[in-house]
Symmetry: C2
Subunit: 395 residues, 2 copies
């Protein structure tokens, strides 16, 4: 695939077909990257004014897929609107997927991504689930790195701040036939961002079972656009009732699945006196396989983290219900409840509304387990700690 | 709301706020319609070349919603691409809804829509379910009628052909925050169309339970974009196995729900000798409340239709399973299986693959019940028969 680490230098209008195999559609190729820079660069906004996903950097990367010619040469171009046929599948039948990633500046001055290979594998699976044209996540990652390097001045220096990357694939087949899109557009946006929530302010959750986020045989285990908008109305209802986010339940036994658009963990004191269980729902197809989720589970097995959290942790992926939660709470065993995701990293939940009552989580803010997990992940993301190659430098 | 039946004559750039209530966002108002006609009109393609949703008329209608000013003055403009921020909610989080309607030319030369009020009520509900800005379906209908009148030359004269209308509302909030879209765009496309399937060729269905289309507490009972793309991969798998469409099952008891993107009916001989049952799944929130579905159920109670189908019909909305279907088939009681929807109207199914075997529907094409239902609906749609005001003339 050539040297993907350099930004390509081929001229615009180059042949987008695969010259090695002229009969098949071209694969996405980062070495073909064309660059059209913005004529003027935007001023950097004060970082305290940043709100998640509202400010965008100067450039974006775009590539398009045509069923005959395949992927076009990707292009760096000024961040700006896209123009599409109103009959496109992305408007009519959904069929869009995205990823969320963050680039941080380390104390060594290097820009780092956090476990980006996991995002890329998930994006490949999301595209396959929606029958979108195939996409090579390794090449998308090369393009993400190019954009990070190009937009380096947009990465805030302050801890907890980062450049949020949003690779997106949309279905662009222009026609109303109800069938898979054989056209697509990939684009990668970059948005400087601060903490998603005010971290010290815990989040309240309303447990909901009349609306259901995901179902076995559905798409809840993939990161696709259509999973999100059905949650907006329940979210609005929760806000009207004084809760920040939804806690999604599933099944007659009211199993706990996710919180808003994030994974959800609880910290429960063990009966055997050997520390605490760190519990989250298993990946049964209804749960998004979050990168931060997987990272918390992995870190929870690390003895160093047990020192930081002053407690021995037992990570557990298992089904648990609102009844379990209520019982743990009444027995004084429910120590922490955590929201987990790329945007929030690790955040505290302080109460869960269910059937007219609140289950209250003890403590005024984040507990020791959440604090230790968040600190460790940020240390890796911001390059202060090396850990199993999770922090990936953009060369 | 003024005279909605006339195409508005106000100048472009008029105030889009509600002058009667300057503090609140403007409602959608058909009397404010601005018109920009195409400079040259396209030649009409030969109708035999028409494929569903591939050819579009000369114009479309567009209006946009801003949370401060409300709905803009709607605009007739040449059919063409739309330009949007790549961070828009429609790409990132789904949140799009649409309707499908058809305009027919009657023998009296009048253009008619079929029960358009049902589409409009459904569209209002779809928008509400996705927390989109509120939209008045009665006003959208006036705009649809304007477009039909303007594009009258695009309505094919031949029976079974029509001008397909696609009102669409997309979420245009430009930002990555996971929250309801407070911006939207309405557009209405018009596409001349022939029969969706070759009607005399029956459709084969593969019954699928490993993927589910909809679930209780989900959005399957609304016409939203995100319901469709998750079906594309199962549809491809079905095609590879030699079946035309999916028959969606639900639950451990394998209840029959819908076929592809259509409702599904079976005709079953009754044990009491009093004709046949016309059975379809009930509207329990997992079934799209189809206009043609409701119309078939209503027509099945009409004694005139019983004459046309030579059998007494008992419409029934009830849960039924693959086991029921297999038993009815083995007892020789399963007489017809029908796919039902705006695009196909009423079409025959000839076999249903399930667990490696086929349930074969007797007869070479559409049976007498399907034929009578289809004929009656087309007679109403094409203005040959009056029936309860279902055919609505575009004045």
């Amino acid at each position: 695939m050539g040297d993907r680490n350099s930004i390509g230098s081929l001229a615009p209008g180059q042949i987008s077909g695969d010259s090695a195999n002229p009969g098949s559609p071209a694969a996405l190729d980062a070495s073909k990257l064309n660059i059209t820079l913005a004529k003027t660069l935007k001023p950097l906004p004060p970082i305290k004014t940043l709100r998640f996903g509202q400010t965008f950097s100067d450039h974006m990367i775009v590539a398009t897929y045509d069923p005959e010619t395949g992927w076009s040469a990707p292009e760096v171009k000024p961040h700006g609107p896209i123009t599409l046929d109103p009959a496109c599948s992305c408007f009519q039948y959904g069929g869009n997927v995205f990823e969320g990633m963050k680039a941080y500046l380390g104390p060594d001055g290097k820009a780092r991504l956090f476990r980006p290979d996991m995002n890329m594998r998930r994006m490949e699976k999301s595209c396959a689930r929606l029958a979108l044209p195939p996409i090579d996540g390794d090449v998308v990652l090369e393009l993400v790195k190019c954009l990070v390097n190009l937009e380096r001045r947009w990465i805030p220096q302050e801890s907890g701040y980062s450049l949020y990357l949003r690779p997106t694939v949309i279905a662009t087949r222009p026609g109303l036939g109800v069938t898979a899109s054989d056209h697509a557009m990939l684009y990668i946006l970059a948005s400087p961002t601060g903490p998603y929530f005010e971290v010290l302010k815990p989040v309240s959750l309303l447990a909901v079972s009349e609306n259901v986020r995901a179902w076995p045989g559905g798409t809840g285990g993939h990161k696709i656009a259509g999973n999100y908008s059905p949650g907006f109305l329940p979210q609005r209802t929760a806000a009207e009732r004084g809760y920040d986010q939804i806690l999604w339940l599933f099944g007659d036994d009211r199993r706990i699945t996710e919180a808003g658009a994030m994974n959800f963990f609880v910290v429960v004191k063990r009966d055997d006196g050997d520390g605490v269980d760190l519990i989250t729902a298993p990946l049964d197809g209804t749960i998004l396989p979050g990168v931060t989720r997987a990272s918390c589970l992995a870190l929870a097995s690390d003895p160093e983290l047990h020192k930081e959290s002053s407690v021995r942790l037992h990570p557990q992926e298992k089904a648990y219900t609102m009844s379990d939660l209520a019982q743990w709470s009444s027995e004084g065993k429910l120590l922490e409840a955590l929201i987990i995701g790329t945007a929030v990293i690790v955040g505290p939940c302080n109460r869960i509304g269910y059937e007219g009552k609140d289950i209250v989580i003890p403590g005024a803010g984040m507990g020791p387990v959440g604090t230790a997990l968040r600190k460790r992940i940020l240390d890796i993301q911001e390059g202060r700690t090396e850990w199993k190659g999770w922090g990936v430098v953009c060369p």
